[in-house]
Subunit: 339 residues, 2 copies
């Protein structure tokens, strides 16, 4: 076992757009597992948009990462030393290991993975937090009904692609929004969306709205919100009465809050269209994780539910990969392979 | 029977603030009831903030009043001629009679009132649309739990005063917001609010927020939204996780959309605090009207639930009274007595 491990810490807080200077790669002493803990070597770490929020000062739904602290991330690790009765060296586990080559964690805080059941990377994507987010938000707050129309952005991402496929299974018309013609093609051909619009092709929310209106002749019943910004502005006027908006993210507004959309316009839509808007993060709903696996797992095993992964290599490339992902540079669930 | 009736029509659409010039009093021929219709003489008409929305062009949740058309209003009328088997002259009925001395209506579109059961005016207020709005919004979207904290503005109005009393009955801490020291005193002494803040005493949302924070030491679980504007801006930062916001109006933004609150700030609160926001108008929920009367009626009959009415006189004074009400000039449910 090496006596040093590598980690990436928050070097400084971004002002507006985040940059590589906000991160720093460090070598530190290899930690020793305490009573009840395991030491893992991280094989795969997850990169997710929520991490941008943790880089800001001030509490969002979670405490910020402090300057000099390891960046937060979920990961899949191999146990290499164990003081927990529940784990042996060679076991694989899912946990909050951070942007790091190794980590110690309480056995009770991590979940054992069976590499023969599904590829290990799926624990970070389609069978993990993003897939579960898609399923719970659609089911609990979207309340989809056959014949309705759903719109979701980041349509080839791990949340959007799952939302779209689940809604199609339930008999909805599904219109995606994505960045670039290639992603739009993927959304339709791989994920079965009825249509997908390239938001980069529309300079204004008004143009995007007109294109959406053409693809949603019966209006929009569910807008699964993960981006905010121009897309929200285009969608709101097209929402039907009694529409539902599950809100799991607003990536367009993470770096900047510039927008033409006003607060009264949002409130007016909520009131006059009798909308139901629900913010949520999946971390509060793990009591339903078993239901999710039971419902979605078979479709993934059979191949009926498709998923895409975008796997970068090397911890040192995590900051660049993360920043690129925040601009839509990835295609599918962004993962970093460390081993 | 006179051969002329009086009505107030929309003379022009307001630009920003509405004014008396937007209305016109007219005399027209007395209408004759068709088959199935009754002719009523209106005794009381209701003035409500939603009417401001009907004065604008463009569909809100209802079609606008057209130029030259009678302004919309609920009213209590005495049947003076009937071609409906369900009504006889002398009966009293609740219906959408408009800003008018007389009106014809289908018997099936109006509801018979028993003047011995409750004062006729209560059909427009505490036992009518505003009281029902308060009850349904709190019950269905507020989901109140004992020990929680609720905030509602226009605290002495027909909606706010009912929301506050119902929430007190359920064991919540209830903090009102109202315009002026007299109304705040009424909210506490007559309606039993735990506290009430005078929004006029705070130039900025920040000042109001600090005062609210002091009165809501455990944060805010339910914000019953009927005003928008500065109050919403002050409340949002104080909302607790999993808070609920039933939205039944936004009177502060009816005349103008000026605000310091931004769209991303609203969305960020919804997301990071896991809020549930529901827009509604009571016209969609009359299937629950019987439940409302069954639950709230006894408290009104016994005097446990208080209510205030502000009764102006004369159809010709309706525009002035309406405009004053939109600025908070009324105390309690605004009604105009015509007979």
């Amino acid at each position: 076992m090496p006596d040093q491990m590598q980690r990436i810490v928050l070097a400084s807080r971004p002002e507006g757009q985040a940059s590589e200077e906000n991160f720093r790669l460090e070598s530190v002493d290899m930690p020793q597992p305490e009573e009840g803990e395991v030491l893992v070597r991280v094989h795969y770490m997850s990169l997710d948009p929520y991490m941008r929020g943790r880089m800001n000062a001030g509490k969002s739904y979670a405490d910020p990462v402090e300057i000099g602290e390891t960046m937060t991330a979920g990961g899949v690790g191999e146990v290499i030393a164990s003081n927990s009765p529940d784990f042996q060296p060679g076991d694989f586990a899912l946990g909050a290991f951070g942007w790091a080559s190794h980590a110690c964690a309480q056995g009770s805080d991590i979940r054992k993975l069976d590499p023969d059941m599904a590829p290990l990377t799926t624990a970070l994507g389609v069978l993990g937090m993003p897939g579960f987010t898609a399923w719970h938000g659609l089911d609990a707050y979207g309340r989809p009904q056959a014949g309705e129309t759903l719109v979701v952005a980041a349509a080839t991402g791990p949340v959007g692609s799952m939302v779209g496929q689940l809604a199609k299974q339930k008999g909805l018309r599904v219109v995606g929004i994505a960045g670039g013609a290639d992603k739009c093609k993927l959304a339709v051909e791989t994920f079965g969306f009825d249509a997908c619009l390239d938001h980069r092709a529309y300079a204004s929310a008004e143009g995007l709205k007109e294109a959406l209106a053409a693809e949603c002749p019966d209006g929009i019943d569910i807008y699964y919100e993960n981006v905010g910004g121009k897309v929200l502005e285009a969608v709101l006027p097209l929402m039907n009465n009694f529409g539902r908006i599950p809100v799991c993210g607003m990536i367009a507004w993470y770096n900047s809050a510039e927008t033409d959309l006003t607060a009264p316009a949002i409130w007016r839509s909520v009131l006059t269209k009798f909308l139901s808007v629900n913010g949520f993060i999946i971390f509060n709903h793990y009591d339903r994780y078993g239901d999710f696996l039971g419902e979605v797992g078979p479709g993934i095993a059979s191949g009926d539910i498709k998923y895409l992964e975008d796997i970068a290599e090397g911890l040192e490339n995590a900051p660049r990969t993360f920043l690129s992902m925040m601009q839509g540079g990835n295609t599918g669930k962004q993962i970093v392979k460390l081993v």
